[in-house]
Symmetry: C2
């Protein structure tokens, strides 16, 4: 059925609605409980890393520098773990700090410390009306951090090449704009990867603020699902412009090994590394080095990481395909929805008929399908067009997922038709 | 030799000094490298917890609530780990939050967040001239946190019952005084435990500030070396006065299992727990639950912890005894030094002849014995009488320790005699 829903007559819409509601009610009667709300690995993905807890991986408990990983010490990570992250992020080892279990916490703490101590200038908390630029749709937990610190967020639209760089170049001329927070590769939720030109324009930014920081959340740098995208190395791009200090890059093994029990890391310029370490030495004696050693000896190197990620991809690809083929089957050509087709990451971004995201999510909920809340992909939970929904296909089993997506497609269409009929 | 050094004649002092210098130079010629500087467990203590990395402890990776510990989720700790810390701290489970690997980091973050968001009133960073009371001698890392945040520190002298409570009661009448930071049990470095009366007077404090917090760092609550001290439960003591909101208690397994790879926890009133969780939900998705499950299944309960701590005590007691008997042998009755005799914790506090701590530490250093820096036990590294040295007997082997303490005793006496001769 290839029909442009908005072009139908009221009678045709009502007829179609009745059919859809019938299908919807049948699903509803099943009393399902399906969760597509969060970017969590599925149970089968967790099984891939079970051997990570093998005590044999710890050998004699010594890091490569002879340090006993069971005791206090080593602020910035054991050498071999720094090296592994240096390979993953393609930066020199000296530009890496290994932290605890979460890159989210690294970002939170970095911004908290900019609030209290500043980023080389007045503490952000002492400067009134500071702002961050937020490519949208984006990651709700990024926005939650900025909101908690009272940093004003400005939406910057994104297309398949990344955020609108004309707009960013213009906005950074305001010295109240202190930074950008973004996921440059397999972006959350769109799954797109910033083009080389976008990355170069980021590197070339000349912000008015001398305490400007881009939080470059490279969460999905090795998380390919299809043919790998390639992200230009931001620090390489910066060299031409001498702007390395503008960027704080983070990543983690949360979706490589175990979420919550992985290892996270930060990459930054020598200046930023020195400033961060200076504060860090007061915040901690050091992070979990046993877990660092465990990870290095399990994955060994970049080749080991890549081989492991192929196993994740083999599990995830059918799930992404299930969603995309259902969208193709039920929504394509109807003029009421569009979506991204990512090559990696954890999400698909679905745009439904304008003004219908909240309604769609509510209808799904009523039928037992939990989605990420509508609006979550925008600062303050406010999607100005009420149309974006983040689809997280990884956690449910493929069977559950197929059912959930069928229901979702019905809800998308019901919400659209009801909206059109209202007019 | 029982002689009061300060009572000797110049000639006698010079003669004694020559003998000591001779001994000192013999040690110096050995080119030793001994470290008594930090409160680190020794290698033999680390061996006690090796079975903690046994994967069998993780069973089917499920927490008691059925949650897969390998995945995202559970903000405040798996239920059984909360329960374990509730037992350790003798508080209700609902008043516990389990964090990551470090109670130092919990304290840092708590104070950071008081700076940015306040403790129920104006953010501390927006109130000028705020102060904390610091029982001295105290823990250098506590002071480093307060100094980094620009919080003025006021010394409060401590005796065998705890800090001078008359002074604290008086000082908290200043609304700029926002709190106290202390180790109430087996204090760092004195090893003393606050008396019941001291704890009750803490509970009864009526600070002028309505955003007053005592950071009650109960790091050594189960770390007995001799006959156990008993610390009155601060939250029990608070009940009479309704002052529960004034206290933030922390502890960790850093010196129970592995430093850096343990689990840390916080106990607080319902109000404080709610406020902390609200911010925490933005800072993290959750801490390392695999490590939490590992710890609970290894130690099981308070009885398991106590049995394990007896093994630590068996290793530590001879080390404490070595230091104390050397002090008795070489320093007792000479009128140039006094020291504490702790029943637990990680330290002994040594007071040398007034004005001689720096000199003593420098002499030790020159002879290959590294001590905690003189002054470290005071805010800003400034021991006004230059007399306190923190002795950390745990890390060296007993043989190394015996040698180090011999040298230390010589240095204490040399520094004292030289000081007296200067007069």
């Amino acid at each position: 059925m290839e029909i442009q829903i908005p072009a139908l007559s009221k009678a045709q819409l009502s007829e179609r609605l009745a059919v859809l509601k019938d299908e919807y009610n049948k699903y509803k009667a099943l009393g399902l409980k399906l969760d597509m709300s969060r970017g969590k690995p599925g149970a089968d993905q967790l099984e891939l890393s079970n051997a990570l807890v093998d005590p044999g991986l710890l050998g004699n408990n010594k890091a490569s520098n002879g340090f006993d990983v069971r005791n206090y010490g080593i602020l910035d990570g054991i050498p071999e773990c720094k090296k592994l992250f240096a390979e993953i992020l393609d930066v020199p080892v000296d530009n890496v700090i290994v932290f605890g279990n979460s890159s989210l916490t690294i970002m939170y703490d970095y911004i908290a410390q900019c609030m209290i101590f500043g980023a080389g200038a007045e503490p952000w908390s002492k400067q009134s009306g500071i702002k961050f630029l937020c490519p949208v749709p984006g990651y709700d937990r990024h926005f939650a951090i900025l909101e908690q610190f009272g940093i004003e967020m400005i939406n910057v639209p994104t297309d398949e090449n990344g955020p609108d760089m004309d707009m960013i170049e213009e906005l950074v001329r305001d010295e109240k704009v202190k930074g950008v927070i973004c996921v440059p590769m397999y972006s959350n939720p769109s799954g797109i990867t910033y083009s080389d030109e976008t990355v170069r324009r980021f590197a070339a930014l000349k912000p008015a603020a001398n305490d400007f920081r881009v939080i470059w959340d490279n969460a999905y740098c090795v998380h390919h699902v299809g043919a790998p995208d390639k992200l230009l190395n931001i620090f390489e791009a910066c060299k031409e412009f001498g702007t390395e200090d503008n960027f704080i890059e983070v990543t983690s093994t949360s979706k490589i090994s175990f979420p919550g029990s992985g290892v996270a890391a930060l990459a930054a310029s020598a200046n930023n590394i020195a400033a961060i370490k200076k504060r860090m030495t007061v915040q901690t004696i050091g992070y979990d080095k046993i877990n660092q050693l465990r990870h290095v000896n399990y994955f060994k190197d970049m080749a080991g990481i890549e081989a492991h990620m192929l196993k994740h991809a083999a599990i995830l690809r059918p799930k992404f395909d299930a969603v995309l083929s259902a969208f193709d089957k039920h929504l394509a050509g109807k003029g009421i929805a569009s979506w991204t087709v990512p090559n990696g990451g954890y999400f698909i971004s679905l745009d439904v008929y304008k003004g219908c995201a909240k309604k769609t999510v509510a209808l799904c909920k009523e039928a037992g399908v939990t989605l990420t809340g509508a609006g979550a992909t925008y600062p303050y939970g406010n999607d100005p067009e009420d149309k974006n929904i983040r689809i997280a296909p990884t956690f449910p089993s493929r069977d559950e997922l197929c059912k959930a997506v069928e229901i979702l497609c019905i809800c998308v269409e019901i919400a659209a038709i009801e909206k059109i009929l209202e007019k």
